[in-house]
């Protein structure tokens, strides 16, 4: 099973390397969003420095949906059927798509994070914690996105339905991430918010693995 997971991750990352969708389309799109927000709310630099981390998380949530949607688009019905015939476990397919999406989301977070630092100049106190927070957020979003992509696979309005499924479900992740970075800014303890992120991730992982087979059959 581990071999199947590794092969599928490699194939999905190779697809992204060839298409370059995250690097050439979604990251610039996120950068444009971060650029236009101050044009709408004003150029008070103190205010922008304070709200910069929150805006970063909003962009990660909303644009992360596109990242996961893109990744899952390469595993459509014919590919799924072929993998089933080859004896690939649905849970392995879920794990591979999730891990590949997590890696791509991490790249997206790092790129958009750098742009946020340049444009908003936020307080970077305790930034070392981001080494824990960023992967937890990426993994959570990747799992929700992978589930949503499986749920909407083959449906007529999937491109509109998938973001509607993901965005409200991802709110605990957004709150955990935003409260953790706010805690870093004001010097408060953030351990419980990191724990919230970890618990949400574990619950999503269990849901994803346990429901992979019924989804495969639907």
């Amino acid at each position: 099973m581990i071999h199947h997971v590794l092969v599928l991750i490699r194939s999905q990352l190779r697809n992204e390397a060839r298409a370059g969708e995250v690097a050439t389309i979604i990251i610039p799109f996120g950068a444009v969003a971060l650029l236009v927000i101050p044009l709408a709310i004003g150029i008070d630099t103190d205010l922008l420095a304070r709200i910069g981390p929150g805006l970063f998380w909003v962009v990660v949530l909303l644009f992360g949906v596109i990242v996961t949607h893109r990744q899952s688009a390469s595993v459509d019905r014919p590919q799924r059927d072929m993998l089933t015939l080859l004896g690939v476990d649905p849970a392995a397919r879920f794990a591979a798509t999730t891990i590949a999406s997590t890696l791509l989301l991490l790249v997206f977070e790092l790129a958009v994070g750098a742009i946020t630092i340049v444009l908003y100049d936020p307080d970077l106190t305790g930034w070392g914690w981001l080494a824990v927070i960023l992967p937890l957020v990426a993994a959570g979003l990747a799992m929700i996105g992978t589930l949503a992509a499986s749920l909407t696979s083959g449906l007529g309005g999937r491109s509109a339905l998938a973001p509607l499924l993901v965005a409200p479900i991802a709110i605990p992740i957004l709150l955990g991430a935003a409260q953790a970075t706010e805690g870093l800014r004001v010097g408060a303890g953030i351990l419980r918010w990191v724990l919230v992120l970890a618990v949400v991730d574990v619950l999503l992982m269990l849901a994803g693995v346990l429901t992979a087979r019924p989804l495969e059959e639907s």
Binding site: L147, R158, L164, P168, I171, A207, L215, S218
Partner: protein
């Protein structure tokens, strides 16, 4: 208990709850505004109950494959969305005179609205999938994932210490509410719960009828093999 008995019981209980809600004295601080709570609190309770039933229906469907549980999950979510909307609307109406604003960025308000959208998405997913079995499997998975949201909503008041008041009736110590007002509130909760049960039963019956209509072959429908005729052996014209 027949469907009709539940519906008549719900109707009678709603009338009694309405009369009791009007008859009890007004709140010492909020006056008559507090009577909105006789709709708001039961609606909020039913939002949690309905989505909990949706999760149970989803889990049992995935375990047994019996479509009846999927219909229960779908009906409960549909009725739950209505009661969540009612809880949000009555909260807005109560909030304006008491808090001075229609809406505030309190954790429980935001997350209740999020829960409302989660279940709107659940219903959108159900509408988008053709075929009873396919729809049941996909919506059961989402029903379980969506249920992860409910504990977060429930404990949000404790986590963020927002503006929304903490539990008044279900406190570990004594309930902070006068007995007549408590009676009116409990009566409303009982009546709304009966109404929920009646609506869910009615919606499940409708879903069964919808499924049988969708799955039944249409009179003009060509079935596989209809174009193939049996060979005539002997006696036929050559």
């Amino acid at each position: 208990m027949t469907k009709r008995t539940v519906e008549i019981g719900a109707f009678g209980a709603m009338i009694i709850a309405f009369a009791v809600g009007l008859a009890v004295p007004p709140d010492a601080v909020q006056g008559d505004l507090q009577r909105i709570m006789y709709v708001h609190v039961p609606s909020a309770w039913l939002a949690y109950l309905a989505f909990g039933i949706t999760m149970i229906g989803s889990v049992v469907y995935l375990a047994t494959g019996n479509l009846r549980w999927d219909r229960l999950a779908g009906a409960s979510a549909e009725v739950g969305v209505v009661f969540t909307g009612l809880a949000l609307a009555t909260g807005l109406i109560w909030g304006k005179p008491v808090w001075g604003v229609w809406w505030t960025w309190d954790a429980r308000l935001v997350l209740t609205a999020a829960m409302f959208f989660v279940y709107l998405a659940y219903l959108a997913l159900r509408r988008g999938v053709d075929g009873a079995d396919r729809r049941a499997k996909r919506s059961a998975v989402f029903g379980i994932v969506a249920a992860l949201q409910i504990p977060v909503v429930h404990f949000s008041v404790v986590w963020w210490r927002g503006l929304h008041q903490p539990p008044t009736v279900l406190r570990p110590d004594n309930p902070q509410i006068d007995p007549p007002l408590l009676f009116a509130l409990l009566m409303a909760v009982f009546a709304f719960t009966l109404a929920y049960a009646a609506l869910v039963r009615r919606r499940m019956a409708l879903a069964t009828a919808e499924d049988s209509l969708t799955d039944a072959p249409r009179p003009d429908e060509q079935v596989a093999g209809a174009a193939v005729s049996a060979p005539q052996i002997g006696g036929g014209r050559r």
